[in-house]
């Protein structure tokens, strides 16, 4: 399937492309257009008015999770991080604001939008792996040390 979005992808577009490729369609292809342009036969994402866009305060990454019924809790957590990065919402997650800075930096490393997606891939793989490990540790590891102060 072909997907398209706006040029100069920031965190939500990078993460959404990664999500589509890893979990929806390994052969997904991406194209970049100017704001407001349309591409026949391709699905828009993170564009104004698109189904796969921001709705009710959720980001595009989360719209893709919902649409494709991806129910992996680590992906849901990644979605919250992406949202808080994209919307500069420090109350949603602690990690978000750092991600915003990091992904803005990717844009300065490459003038080519596909190049930015390529740079983002290993970062998102790493983030996802870390979230999975953290979840596993929380689910199976010692939940609270005996005698620890209640919070």
């Amino acid at each position: 399937m072909r997907y398209y979005t706006r040029r100069r992808p920031h965190v939500d577009r990078c993460a959404s492309a990664w999500l589509l490729k890893r979990f929806v369609d390994a052969k997904a292809e991406f194209a970049f257009v100017e704001e407001g342009d349309q591409l026949q036969g391709a699905i828009p994402f993170d564009m104004s008015g698109a189904d796969l866009g921001h709705h009710r305060g959720r980001c595009t990454f989360e719209a893709i999770l919902a649409k494709h019924r991806l129910e992996d809790p680590a992906l849901a957590e990644l979605g919250r991080i992406i949202r808080s990065a994209d919307l500069l919402d420090a109350e949603e997650t602690l990690e978000g604001p750092g991600m915003d800075l990091l992904f803005r930096g990717l844009l300065s490393l490459s003038n080519d939008d596909h190049g930015v997606l390529a740079l983002a891939e290993p970062i998102l793989d790493a983030l996802y792996a870390a979230l999975q490990e953290r979840r596993a540790a929380r689910t199976h590891g010692p939940r609270r040390q005996p005698g620890a102060r209640k919070r």
Binding site: R8, H10, S48, G49, G53, H54, H55, R56, G57, D86, L87, L88, D89, A90, E91, P97, D100, R104, R149
Partner: protein
């Protein structure tokens, strides 16, 4: 060089009233400044403009109206006034937080027991969070913000030292 701004003009259906508050909170979070009711502004970086665009879309989904402009002030003094509004918002919030920091510092001096020290630590954590959020949404930070961050670092060091001393006594 002339600065560009993303200027949002919107109208929200009066009911339910929470929609108004919801939009206000979202805009506030990334440091938009109200020029008057339902007219607000941020520097037109690609990211902030995008955030405004999403909010404009959402306002329309709520049944309201929203118009987003890229705008420049008509003269340098006009531009300076707009920047001044951002600076004033940063100053007001930094001063509010500095007052809280002063209160926390006083309570730290009086904190004798481990329990009261723990309370001071909690208060400090809250005000540090407030300062971080302020930094994220400050596009023209006032000098008071720097003072705030410096005081917070110093206060955190004092709290840490006092906690260590208390632990040794035990």
């Amino acid at each position: 060089m002339k600065r560009e701004w993303a200027l949002l003009v919107y109208k929200i259906p009066p009911h339910p009233t929470r929609l108004r508050a919801l939009v206000w909170r979202r805009l506030q979070r990334f440091g938009a400044i109200y020029l008057q009711d339902s007219v607000c502004i941020v520097p037109a970086s690609s990211e902030l403009t995008e955030n405004m665009q999403w909010i404009a879309d959402e306002i329309r989904e709520m049944g309201g109206e929203a118009y987003l402009f890229r705008a420049a002030a008509s003269s340098p003094p006009q531009e300076a006034r707009i920047e001044g509004l951002f600076g004033a918002a940063s100053r007001a919030e930094a001063r509010r937080l500095l007052e809280t920091v002063g209160g926390v510092a006083r309570r730290l001096r009086q904190a004798g027991s481990a329990a009261s020290l723990a309370e001071v630590e909690d208060e400090l954590r809250r005000v540090r969070q407030g300062a971080l959020k302020l930094r994220l949404r400050s596009h023209f930070p006032a000098a008071e913000e720097e003072t705030l961050h410096r005081r917070l670092r110093a206060l955190r060091d004092r709290v840490d030292r006092q906690a260590l001393r208390a632990a040794k006594r035990r």
